[in-house]
Symmetry: C2
Subunit: 206 residues, 2 copies
């Protein structure tokens, strides 16, 4: 995620990973349109000749970057939570981890804004499907029947997406959403516990 500026005379060769991460940062900041080979080359301290050696064209970079996003924010995240046995702790850890990515803030709104793009649609479809399936499985482990578990999963995922969007659009107006991590404020914990408690609420009504 850090840029390798040319500090000495010997500059390391760039990898497709470098281009992908740079593309994700540009996409998170200025949308899909900001992913221009020109701008990324200047940002990485190289020229477009390097790019067209590693990638076929711009669409190949988009798909590669989105696959990195899929891997880091879905596949790796789910596998990391496999150690936690208690489903309630898994749920809390899942949301706190997912909401902790401040550097790539605004990436998901940018991706969703171009949901019709041929390079975006299939990956966005896979990510959404897997995330909702994981949440459904999680709420099922919490004691919900399949149908309510899926409804709860959709609601929880929508709340998570909106939380990201709100944090990007108005973190100064709504300062509660800007803070996360271990020092989460009352509003963030309110949302998470609300999503966890509502599932419990239906499983065994008090």
């Amino acid at each position: 995620m850090t840029i390798q500026y040319c500090t000495g005379m010997a500059r390391r060769h760039l990898t497709p990973q470098d281009w992908s991460t740079a593309a994700l940062r540009a996409m998170a900041h200025g949308g899909v349109a900001a992913v221009s080979v020109n701008a990324l080359a200047g940002e990485l301290g190289t020229t477009r000749g390097s790019f067209y050696w590693h990638f076929k064209d711009r669409d190949a970079l988009l798909t590669a970057a989105l696959e990195v996003w899929e891997e880091d924010n879905t596949t790796a995240l789910i596998s990391e939570l496999g150690d936690i046995t208690d489903p309630r702790q898994r749920l809390t850890a899942l949301f706190t981890t997912a909401l902790g990515q401040h550097d790539i803030n605004g990436l998901e709104p940018a991706i969703v804004a171009h949901a019709d793009h041929p390079a975006v649609a299939p990956i966005l479809r896979r990510v959404t499907d897997r995330r909702i399936a994981y949440l459904t499985d999680l709420y099922t482990n919490l004691g919900l029947a399949p149908a309510p578990a899926r409804r709860q999963a959709v609601a929880a995922y929508a709340a998570y997406l909106g939380w990201l969007e709100l944090r990007r659009s108005a973190s100064d107006i709504v300062p509660e959403v800007a803070i996360t991590g271990t020092t989460a404020t009352a509003a963030l914990e309110h949302l998470i516990t609300e999503l966890a408690r509502s599932g419990e609420h239906q499983a065994k009504p008090e």
Copy 2:
């Protein structure tokens, strides 16, 4: 929202409103980058000469279109709900009305994706601020104290934003979110009642 194609020989003169609505539709479909004077002119059956007579430049169109969005989806929406006296009915009517805009689906993700744009930032700030303030006032009328009312308003607004985003990105995967209006499915009502009930839950815990 409907395009005035040149059906006869006498074509009506275009208004700035026509350009604004066309810009909003393009923005909802392809993001801010899709708002090009060339494409809109072709879509409206005219040339760029017409555009530059009504508007100073492209940024003027963006601000005008976003002000139309602000008026239609915030100012007019709030004033329409003034007739309903019961705050709970107001809350339900608010979400069902706000979620009923299927034609401009994906507009808010596109706007949020360019939250840093100088033409987008101030309007997005006003809209977010007013909506959260309205929701906070609504939850206060439901019996919540100021601080919990604001927390609940932020959570409810985040759920609404995420619902829109989810409906745009994966309406085929999650068919529950695609349907709305009077025949809202169980998932949609689940989210709304969940947001309404959670406020009630804190006001007078059972």
